[in-house]
């Protein structure tokens, strides 16, 4: 059984068809990419699968269970973690709290424990803190634990965001343009981090990217989206030489 299966997903924003008949199969441990020019509907597809919007038509199944109609936090708790194009870190929260927060659904205490500071709360908070510190060390940002995220260099913020996403214990990780705004140097680091996540956590990864080089380097299989429709799908070499993809990115060859 595939880990994630999307079948014939179509979505309309009012009269505008944003996504048309989208299909996706992700096997455990696979790295898949989604490329396409601006406005092709890539982020919409992410938002549809992660429950921010509900698709007009189609099925989404994670490990055989439908995700349709679930709220985003429920989808996330089922094992679908994500990062955002512009990170969306919490401005007034320190790095450690970011990673603790992402374990929200696994907090083993209730509201009353939180109100009265029971021993159970203290035990659980300790556990969550330890887990968070372990992740921060893994992503090499433990030294920033007590700092506000805004004070961190850009690369470190990206790593914090990745640590936060991994703290939700995802089975599949969605990366929305993980290299947006990065220098070539940071890009190489990012490839390293993604490989590390893939290796150490054994998660499947589905990523949106603008930079073809980056996608070609990482992904085993790539889909190309243009105006909400997949025009090509296959391994990187095939996509690179596909005339339709070249056309979508560079325009038609025969200019009259």
């Amino acid at each position: 059984m595939p880990l994630l299966q999307v079948r014939n997903m179509t979505h309309y924003f009012g009269g505008l068809r944003a996504v048309h008949n989208f299909n996706l199969v992700i096997e455990p441990g696979e790295i898949k990419g989604l490329i396409g020019p601006n406005g092709a509907g890539k982020t919409t597809i992410f938002n549809l699968i992660t429950g921010i919007h509900t698709p007009t038509e189609g099925q989404i199944e994670l490990e055989g269970r439908s995700l349709i109609g679930l709220r985003p936090h429920e989808v996330a708790s089922r094992g679908l973690g994500r990062t955002f194009q512009n990170m969306l870190l919490w401005r007034h929260m320190n790095v450690l709290d970011h990673v603790k927060m992402a374990q929200y659904s696994r907090l083993g205490y209730g509201l009353l424990d939180a109100f009265f500071g029971t021993p159970r709360l203290q035990r659980e908070e300790q556990r969550v803190t330890d887990e968070a510190m372990r992740l921060l060390e893994l992503f090499d940002v433990a030294k920033y634990a007590g700092q506000l995220v805004g004070n961190l260099p850009y690369g470190a913020q990206r790593r914090v965001e990745m640590a936060r996403a991994m703290a939700t214990k995802p089975k599949i990780l969605f990366l929305d343009e993980p290299t947006a705004g990065m220098t070539p140097e940071e890009l190489v680091q990012m490839i390293g981090i993604i490989r590390q996540v893939h290796r150490d956590f054994g998660v499947a990864i589905f990523l949106i990217e603008h930079r073809l080089k980056f996608v070609m380097e990482l992904c085993q299989s790539i889909q190309t989206l243009v105006f909400g429709e997949v025009i090509a799908e296959g391994p990187p070499e095939e996509i690179q030489n596909n005339p339709k993809v070249v056309e979508a990115y560079l325009g038609k060859e025969d200019i009259t």
Partner: protein, 429 residues
């Protein structure tokens, strides 16, 4: 504090820097001891001292009112304040720094609750003795503590979760009316609800339940604002919450069986100082526990970025409902206490004026901070009492002060700070 380290080369300001570094070594318990001495001095010697200084009576609020009313008495009021408050506080604080630090260190090694209770008992004795001087002080203290509860509870919504909610007077009114109705129906012979149903002697034991009932009614009312908050944020939610406040006010005004616009009176006198103090401590403790837990920090996640919070498995709807109901609950309890302090409520109290007061206190003190709320509530409350002789100008001075704070500290005096009791009570040496 490091900058004030005294060196032999700077001997001419050595006294002041030594004094300052001496003060920085006094732990909280030392200050409490000093405060206790100060109020004791006032309790036993206050009358005599004010007589010799030519003051008509003991200055009720640190001499401010006397100074503003009769400028000629400024020197003697100042002398009174220095002799009665500042000298004992500073002297005992400084002289007892050594033993106080050893005591603080001893308590630091013990369980936090023990240390906290000892500090609280000391604090309570201080305010009890201080308020024994006059009924005015007693009333002011009670209202200040109720203001602390209100400020803190609105901080949960406006500060920690970042929704601009204007419905706090409404929640307070719900609490005040429900708690009063309960105590009036059950334990009092009054003209609205007739004779008491239960023996009034049982009343004081029942009072906490009445307050909790008031809090719960307010929490239920909060659903009216919480549910729209799933879909709207910011200005629109502020308008909804404002509407809620007006709805509560006009509903009460038009309900004859709770007294309509004339209000409800003759509540039993159960909001005494220990009760109000205990509830305030409880409120601070519970709210501080909550906002420091990961579950409570979900409020900050929702405020800073709701979409990210959702993607990180935070149940944002639950968080919003809990926040509104939790904040409203404490506003309701505060309202119940308020009604039993004044022993009279009418719907006019819970209008836009009250809202302005609460908002001023929370934004003055600082968002997202327990200490900030306490500081904001106490300072605005005391200030508005101290400046009372200025009459009309009071409403120029206080807003000006607020404007200055907003310019120099846009999030309030003490914003975004964690309130760690253990850290505050620790020894300073």
């Amino acid at each position: 504090m490091e900058s004030t380290k005294s060196t032999p080369a700077l001997s001419q300001d050595g006294f002041w820097s030594r004094l300052r570094s001496g003060f920085s070594r006094v732990p909280v318990i030392g200050w409490l001891a000093g405060g206790l001495c100060a109020v004791m001095v006032e309790y036993f010697l206050g009358d005599a001292l004010s007589y010799y200084l030519g003051l008509p009576k003991i200055p009720v609020l640190f001499g401010f009112v006397t100074m503003l009313k009769k400028p000629l008495l400024i020197p003697s009021s100042a002398a009174y304040v220095i002799l009665v408050y500042i000298v004992p506080l500073a002297a005992v604080g400084l002289l007892s720094a050594g033993p106080a630090n050893r005591l603080a260190a001893f308590l630091h090694r013990r369980a936090l609750w023990l240390s906290a209770i000892i500090h609280l008992v000391l604090l309570y004795i201080i305010i009890h003795v201080w308020s024994d001087i006059s009924d005015y002080r007693l009333l002011l203290l009670k209202l200040t503590m109720i203001a602390i509860m209100l400020t803190l509870s609105i901080n949960v919504i406006n500060g920690y979760m970042g929704e601009f909610s204007c419905s706090h007077p409404g929640f307070m009114a719900l609490g005040a009316y429900s708690a009063s109705a309960l105590t009036l129906i059950l334990f009092t012979n009054d003209k609205l609800f007739g004779p008491a149903l239960l023996p009034p002697a049982l009343g004081p034991y029942f009072f906490p339940l009445a307050l909790i009932f008031g809090g719960l009614v307010a929490a239920l009312g909060a659903l009216v604002v919480a549910i729209p908050s799933f879909r709207t944020r910011g200005d629109y939610l502020a308008i909804i919450s404002l509407a809620f406040m007006f709805i509560v006010k006009s509903v009460i005004e038009n309900l004859e069986f709770v007294g309509g616009p004339r209000g409800m009176s003759s509540q039993p006198n159960w909001s005494d100082l220990p009760t109000v103090f205990a509830w305030t401590v409880m409120c601070i403790w519970v709210i501080n526990n909550f906002v420091r837990s990961t579950m409570g920090k979900a409020l900050n996640a929702v405020r800073d970025n709701e979409m990210a919070a959702d993607a990180m498995t935070v149940d944002t709807r639950k968080t919003k409902i809990v926040t509104f109901m939790f904040g409203a609950f404490w506003a309701g309890v505060a309202g119940g206490l308020f009604a039993h302090v004044l022993r009279y409520v009418n719907p006019g109290t819970f209008g836009i004026q009250k809202l302005a007061e609460i908002l001023a206190m929370v934004y003055f003190g600082g968002l997202n901070s327990v200490v900030g709320s306490v500081v904001g509530a106490v300072s605005i409350n005391l200030l508005s009492e101290m400046l009372r002789p200025l009459e009309l100008f009071k409403w120029i001075v206080i807003p000006l002060l607020l404007i200055l704070v907003m310019i120099y500290r846009p999030t309030g005096l003490i914003a975004f700070r964690e309130f760690d009791v253990r850290k505050i009570l620790r020894p300073k040496q």
